[in-house]
């Protein structure tokens, strides 16, 4: 296997996860990852040799996502939701809580959602997340604390309602 494949392919599962988290549409997410990989292969020679390949790939994906969202908004297109994803085999009540987290994530502004995912799920450190998003570290920190607090309030408000449904 060649160098590019050996260095890029190990990150594809995480790129798909992040793309899906942003788009909630499996095919759309894979299209986004495919665009990202095409770009990465084309610009391979240009990346910083000392840089982190994983953060570089996420930055490309994020740029694609932002420009795609912008042009969709311009066209007035809507993103389709794909809810038939493999649900983990767990008791129904626990599944409800887990579903809630994703619903809560959806309720956040896109900027905060991206930070919660990059830091909390993909485990980038704050300066890497800042570079991926092209914003200062301070902005990452404030989006993180606002996003987490908003998600907490969402889940607190949601819990009693779901209990009544049950």
């Amino acid at each position: 296997m060649d160098e590019i494949a050996a260095l890029i392919e190990p990150h594809i599962p995480a790129l798909r996860r992040y793309a899906w988290s942003l788009l909630r549409d499996r095919d759309g997410a894979d299209d986004l990852v495919q665009d990202t990989l095409e770009r990465a292969v084309g610009r391979w020679q240009l990346r910083r040799r000392d840089g982190n390949v994983r953060a570089w790939l996420f930055a490309i994906l994020h740029n694609h996502f932002v420009s795609q969202t912008r042009s969709e908004r311009r066209r007035g297109a809507r993103v389709d939701y794909d809810d038939d994803l493999a649900a983990p085999a767990q008791p129904p009540d626990e599944r409800l809580t887990l579903r809630d987290v994703l619903a809560g994530l959806d309720s956040l502004p896109g900027d905060q959602r991206a930070v919660l995912l990059l830091v909390g799920v993909e485990e980038f450190d704050y300066s890497e997340a800042a570079r991926i998003l092209g914003v200062p570290v301070g902005t990452v920190m404030s989006r993180l604390s606002r996003g987490r607090e908003r998600l907490r309030l969402f889940l607190d408000a949601e819990a009693p309602r779901l209990r009544r449904v049950k």
Partner: protein, 264 residues
């Protein structure tokens, strides 16, 4: 790092994420020990973080579809580059035929009229032409170009634009790299790279951020100045120069191939 400074919201987030330097952890823990009411909030943050991971984990474990293999990505790029090469060859042929038969002078197909329309419809193209004219007519702008080799200028422009930009090598086309400048406004960043050739001919390559969509290269001409433009990855690219059509088509092909080249 922040030893001794007041505890901030950023410290609390970093505490949740395990991103605090060890010395600061002790300070934050002492501080939290005096404020038990905060414990519920921080533990809610930890829980939501764990739940998100748990919920999203299946997506990081699913097998990769074949179309996302690097070998498949490469094959797709090669197919597209081939079709661009065919298209460029066809464009050269049309231009050659056109020059020979006075096609350009024919009123019905006047490229100037077509190009005015293109300029009106595409602000980025207008900016590229304007930047080209400025450099051609304003000696100060030309002397203020930042000089350096392709690698220096590529990384300088990439940093300033926040996009990876490869400055192409046009020496085999008879053009040497003169330098580059960054032209930023409040709403976007742009850069211009200048090349000089025999007989005082100039070429400029204009790259503008803040664009959307993708388009294949398209040729246009206005007042004896030709341009080739395409869009990709949030940028518009335009090569501009007062060259005859055939050499311009050839150099355009080289620019596009280098900027969109497969890295393998």
């Amino acid at each position: 790092m922040r030893a001794g400074l007041p505890i901030g919201e950023d410290d609390l987030q970093a505490y949740v994420d395990g991103q605090l330097p060890p010395a600061r952890i002790a300070e934050v823990e002492t501080w939290l020990g005096e404020r038990p009411e905060l414990e519920a909030r921080l533990s809610a943050y930890r829980t939501q973080r764990e739940e998100l991971r748990e919920r999203l984990r299946p997506f990081g474990e699913a097998p990769i579809p074949a179309r996302l293999r690097i070998s498949a990505i490469r094959a797709g790029r090669r197919r597209r580059q081939w079709s661009w090469a065919m298209r460029a060859a066809a464009a050269c042929l049309i231009l050659a035929v056109g020059t020979g038969t006075g096609w350009w002078a024919a009123n019905r197909f006047s490229p100037v009229a077509a190009s005015r329309q293109a300029l009106a419809e595409d602000p980025a193209l207008g900016l590229a032409f304007a930047a080209h004219w400025t450099l051609a007519t304003d000696g100060d702008a030309a002397t203020a170009l930042r000089t350096g080799d392709r690698r220096d200028l590529s990384s300088w422009i990439s940093d300033r634009l926040g996009h990876d930009i490869a400055v192409p090598d046009l020496s085999s086309q008879g053009f040497r790299l003169l330098g580059a400048r960054v032209l930023s406004s409040a709403r976007f960043a742009a850069a211009q790279v200048a090349y000089g050739g025999a007989g005082g001919k100039h070429l400029t390559l204009y790259v503008k951020t803040g664009e959307t969509g993708e388009s294949r290269p398209a040729f246009t001409a206005l007042g004896g100045v030709s341009a080739m433009m395409w869009r990709d990855d949030g940028c518009a690219y335009a090569l501009v120069g007062a060259l005859d059509h055939e050499p311009f088509a050839a150099v355009s092909g080289s620019v596009f191939d280098q900027m969109e080249a497969d890295g393998s």
